[in-house]
Symmetry: C2
DNA sequence: ATTTAGTTGTGACATTTTTCACGGAAGGTG
DNA sequence: CACCTTCCGTGAAAAATGTCACAACTAAAT
């Protein structure tokens, strides 16, 4: 039962990548795949792949490697990867707009059902395919629409405040595109994607490596 | 000289975050800051911050903590964070478009000077503020315009091929928004941001944590 | 039935990364 | 000028993560 928590986060992340790869392979009609092939495609050592899979007690078998469909199913079940989530996009800057429009395409299991923005003018006029509400209605709307996941693309200074409203509304997971580190209570999962930061890191690594 | 390589990548990444924070503080007129405050704001232990800074032999001092401006400068110099890079966006889907339009805003030190797309029709008609070329002109254009950084937002299957063209043109760093793991020669730095993957990881962690 | 080649599962090992404890320096204060 | 508080630097301990070697197993081939 608590075995779940015992899976290291990086391992879980890798397994998600494995899952995606398995989806591709499955669609291509590949029925078996070895840890070596998986590792090759993902740029990870085969040992590592096997160890990760062993965490969820995968049933790879014998000489032909892993059964694509079966492993895929195992990973999906272990991590709830095929559950559907109801999401909202908070902050309709360009990135927010792009995400609300492409969200469905990027991540099938994510149903974006609402968006928020602090600019009332924009709320009235913008058309992104889902209802747009002003930020002061976040808590109420999240509650009403039963939204469990939030995509946060607001300007840095307002991030913490928005997050709190979202959480009060009942959000359980936040994809944080803000550079601010969110302080959240237990039970709420945050994943940070700091684009500006990533670019800085890239340039730093380029500088060090060159 | 090789001290540089001895800085662990996660530490470098954290220092980039510290740098950004220092920029903010500096702009706010804060002249000194303690490792504790930095850690607090970034959600990292103070010990960790100090250790990271020690890698670049920072000159934090005495009772009042670090000199904001000085530390900022030290980090910037050590990682070349204020160098300007010439970049191109490859793949003008919605995300690509958003990035080429907002790139300057998101990352000041990145000058986006060109974009590429495989759809010739789109190449002719789209207006994103920079010249758009067809993908088969990547190598030549990158060479001609002296571009050193690439933002890769093409569909997964074409990623490796595009990357190779970019590299042949002389690219030194790639921000890879593709789910494919790029195989590149030494000397080329890749940083992966797999949005779909990140969403899956978020949902996995939510599932495990709830 | 036996062999053989190929692949997994895993416990021990190595490395990396984080945490900690404490000496010592800097700057106010009386 | 001595004191006292606050904070940094760092080497050593601890934890987490990744690597490896090898036994066990499977499926096909002979």
């Amino acid at each position: 039962m608590d075995e779940r928590k015992s899976i290291p986060v990086p391992a879980a992340a890798r397994l998600c990548a494995v899952y995606r790869l398995l989806c591709d392979l499955s669609a291509q009609g590949v029925n078996f795949v070895s840890s070596g092939d998986l590792g090759e495609a993902l740029g990870i050592g085969a040992h590592n792949i096997r160890k990760d899979i062993s965490h969820i007690s995968g049933g790879g078998s014998g000489r032909s490697g892993y059964d694509t469909a079966r492993l895929k199913k195992q990973i999906a079940e272990h991590f709830g990867l095929e559950n559907e989530y109801r999401a909202c996009v908070t902050g309709l800057g360009r990135l927010g707009q792009a995400l609300v429009r492409d969200g469905q395409h990027i991540f099938k299991e994510l149903k974006i059902v609402a968006a928020f923005d602090s600019d009332l003018n924009r709320v009235e006029t913008i058309d992104v395919g889902v209802p747009v509400h002003p930020t002061y209605e976040i808590t109420e709307t999240v509650k009403r629409l039963n939204i469990d996941t939030a995509i946060l693309t607001v300007p840095d200074p307002t991030a913490q405040e928005c997050a709190e409203r979202l959480i009060t509304g009942g959000i359980k997971g936040i994809m944080n595109f803000t550079a601010t580190h969110l302080k959240v209570k237990g039970g709420v999962t945050v994943r940070n994607i700091d684009l500006a930061g990533e670019f800085k890191i890239l340039s730093a690594l380029m500088f060090l490596g060159g």
